[in-house]
């Protein structure tokens, strides 16, 4: 070595000065690391969000005038039967899809976690197939299965002498139909989340329980569910947020009136109503007001959910 390369020796600074500088950069570093996310979030998340609040106060024609109307859009929204109809549809579809989906996922995860399961990897991976299938493809296939005249389901019902059911035209039928599509797409994903958590539970606990005479149900109830508590809370919150924003399925389920999801708006969800008003009728102000209402609704229901689901606690004693 002819020359030295270690910089601290080359600098005539006192140790304490270096210390301070290092402290500063050490303190700032984490913020720099997380900055990209927050910058991008600010540009694509926060600013549009705030701008939506702003636009909601206008009668906003995208290719014409913007007239300030104060809270008129919100007043109109509260008296708009189409809004309440869409809100009810959204909640109905969300409940019909989320509750069965989470229950099925819970049971499946428990089964897939079984120690003596053969071909475990195959079963676990195949859970993800619906999730990676395009939503549009899933929707089109399901819509054809549920068709009134030529659908597979009504053909099967016809074999046992049941009159064809007009799923799409009826309120509950269209909700169930969309709920099936949503649940189908997400149950595998949820199952894998649960499974991953279950695998973190030491086998010895199950073995010990089995030795103590606990059957499958008791193991499920007293070991699996309590140890899954954090991830259950997580899935409930995320599926609430997702469920309240169901959009693609109702948009694609009818070809004739996509923006209203049927002639009586029987399966129009809030996001679809937003899209209809904003991008079908081009009432940007009113569309933004719907967006704000949706935002408030999601925050409210997600908080309620959080409070309720934190009550699933490990049994004590």
């Amino acid at each position: 070595m002819t020359t030295t390369v270690s910089p601290p020796q080359a600098r005539p600074e006192s140790e304490s000065e270096t210390q301070v500088r290092q402290n500063w950069s050490e303190r700032l570093a984490p913020y720099a690391y997380i900055a990209p996310f927050f910058l991008i979030f600010a540009i694509f998340g926060l600013v549009p969000l705030l701008f939506t609040f702003y636009v909601a106060l206008f009668d906003w024609n995208p290719i014409g005038e913007h007239v300030f109307v104060g809270f008129d859009n919100f007043n109109r929204l509260l008296g708009d039967t189409r809004f309440w109809n869409a809100a009810w549809n959204t909640i109905s579809i969300w409940l019909l899809s989320t509750v069965p989906q989470l229950l099925v996922a819970l049971v499946l995860a428990h089964l897939l976690n079984h120690a003596r399961l053969r071909l475990a990897l195959f079963w676990r991976m195949s859970m993800l197939v619906p999730y990676i299938t395009s939503v549009a493809a899933t929707t089109i296939v399901f819509a054809q299965m549920f068709d009134r005249d030529y659908g597979l389901l009504n053909w099967l019902l016809g074999l046992v002498g049941v009159e064809p059911i007009n799923f799409l035209q009826s309120g509950w039928g269209s909700h169930a139909m969309i709920a099936v599509m949503v649940a189908w797409r997400w149950f595998g994903y949820t199952t894998l989340l649960y499974l991953a958590s279950l695998q973190a539970v030491p086998r010895t606990i199950y073995e010990a329980a089995a030795v103590d005479g606990a059957g499958a149900w008791k193991q499920f109830r007293h070991i699996s569910i309590p140890s899954l508590r954090p991830v259950i809370v997580f899935t409930i919150v995320t599926s609430t947020i997702g469920g309240l924003q169901i959009f693609t399925e109702p948009l694609l389920v009818t070809t004739t009136s996509p923006l209203t999801c049927g002639s009586a708006r029987q399966c129009q969800t809030l996001t679809l109503f937003l899209y209809e008003q904003g991008f079908g009728q081009f009432q940007f102000g009113y569309g933004s007001a719907i967006g704000v209402a949706l935002f408030v609704l999601i925050i409210a229901i997600a908080s309620l959910n959080y409070v309720l689901s934190t009550r699933i606690r490990p049994e004590r004693g």
Binding site: G45, T52, D149, T235, G242, T256, L274, G291, F295
Partner: protein, 423 residues
């Protein structure tokens, strides 16, 4: 579930971005070379062929064609583009979407600067008046009109003991009431549905047949009091309740499937619908024919070519319009595709009158559709016409599907329209 969570953010972002750039529109200076331009059109109307023919006839010209989607999607994309400022040079707009744009003419080039007022008289006056703004700007040149007729299945009519010759069939239904009566005879004889649905095949036709639809000539909304609208609505409700419809909404999957299976025998067909029948039910070739519409005359549909204000190559775009949409250009296009010209001078041309359509038992479609136009009484289409029509259509469909009370359908429709458009 991160994917699900991003949806609203994307929506909100799109809403905000498009809104943020709104109002400005069109500061770009025309800087084109006159040789290439960007063209937004609908999918499914074979625009590619017209463009290719044009490029063959005009070597050196480059047309960048984008088939955006259906007519509604194209209008939506155009609105977003106008708000955002990045626009195509040429765009196709469907008639029902047009009034919203005509009301904001500052977003488009006034085609009079290229000589549109000199060729104005080539076109049906009530058609070009729809693309003329209140202050006189001409923002669109009409490419085609729909006309009206009824497509029917000769084989199924024969089985039902009805005449099959197109003149005799036309005589079966001079009025819509006679049309419904014929339907009852057909359904009684065969046990099958006569017509696809009441909303499109009856209401959308009948409502387009009088001098006044949803707006009066000075632009006031009169849908609630217009006798023509009420008559058409009542006819459709009567049809919906008569048991002669297949209860299949136009363009849905079941509608297409039933068409090839012969589950209904009649569809009201503007000229542009013939292409859909050909595509949806290719196996039924030769089994169809075309008769006159009850009431004799009317128009449904038609499109316009417009040049946005901020277009980079407006001259090249106008060159395309003036060459392809001349009376001769529209006539050639009719011979190729069956799209009905908007230039009345073509209506007496032997090429138009003599064109026979083998898919529809050699029906002289040019003659049938232009006759339906010549007896037409034009009406004003307004900015909310599409929204109003959709609500009436929904109310009729609800009755047809057994979900709506026929006695209350009219009032429900009026209430929904009022909620929707605010007047």
């Amino acid at each position: 579930m991160k994917l699900r969570r991003t949806t609203p953010v994307v929506l909100a972002a799109a809403l905000a971005l498009t809104a943020a750039c709104g109002g400005g529109g069109g500061s770009a200076q025309p800087s084109g070379d006159g040789k290439s331009f960007e063209f937004w059109s609908f999918s499914g109307i074979n625009q590619k062929k017209t463009v290719e023919d044009f490029q063959k006839a005009n070597p050196g010209v480059q047309v960048k064609l984008t088939e955006v989607g259906g007519s509604t999607e194209t209008a939506q994309a155009l609105t977003t583009a106008l708000a955002g400022g990045k626009v195509p040079d040429l765009v196709l707009i469907q008639g029902d979407d047009l009034p919203k744009f005509v009301q904001q003419p500052q977003n488009f080039q006034d085609l009079r600067q290229y000589g549109a007022d000199k060729i104005k008289s080539d076109y049906l006056d009530w058609v070009i008046s729809q693309s003329t703004a209140r202050s006189g700007e001409i923002i669109g040149i009409p490419t085609d009109v729909g006309g009206m007729a009824v497509a029917y299945r000769t084989d199924l009519f024969k089985q039902a003991g009805l005449p099959t010759d197109r003149d005799e069939v036309s005589k079966l239904w001079p009025t819509w009431d006679a049309f419904i009566e014929t339907g009852k005879k057909y359904t009684a004889a065969t046990g099958k549905a006569f017509v696809d649905n009441a909303a499109t095949s009856v209401f959308y036709q009948a409502v387009n047949q009088g001098p006044q639809k949803y707006y009066d000539p000075s632009g006031n909304v009169v849908y609630a009091t217009s006798p023509q609208v009420k008559t058409a609505f009542d006819l459709a409700i009567k049809t919906a309740q008569s048991g002669i419809t297949a209860r299949l909404s136009s363009f849905e999957d079941g509608w297409s499937a039933a068409m090839s299976k012969g589950d209904y025998a009649v569809i009201s067909a503007p000229s542009w619908l013939l292409e859909q029948i050909r595509n949806n039910a290719p196996d039924t070739k030769g089994k169809w024919d075309v008769a006159k519409i009850p009431g004799g005359a009317g128009n449904w549909g038609g499109s316009y070519l417009a040049i946005p204000k901020g277009a980079a190559n407006p001259k090249a775009a106008w060159d395309y319009i003036s060459k392809t949409q001349s009376p001769q250009g529209q006539l050639d296009h009719f011979v190729d595709s069956g799209a009905l010209p908007t230039t009345p001078s073509a209506y007496q041309d032997p090429k138009l009158l003599g064109r026979k359509d083998p898919f529809f038992s050699d029906a002289p479609t040019g003659k049938i559709y232009t006759e339906s136009l010549l007896g037409l009484k034009p009406f004003l289409i307004g900015p909310d016409s599409a929204a109003i029509g959709q609500e009436f259509l929904n109310a009729i469909t609800n009755v047809e599907q057994g979900k709506g009370d026929p006695a209350k359908a009219w009032d429900t429709a009026l209430a929904n329209i009022k909620t929707s458009i605010g007047k």
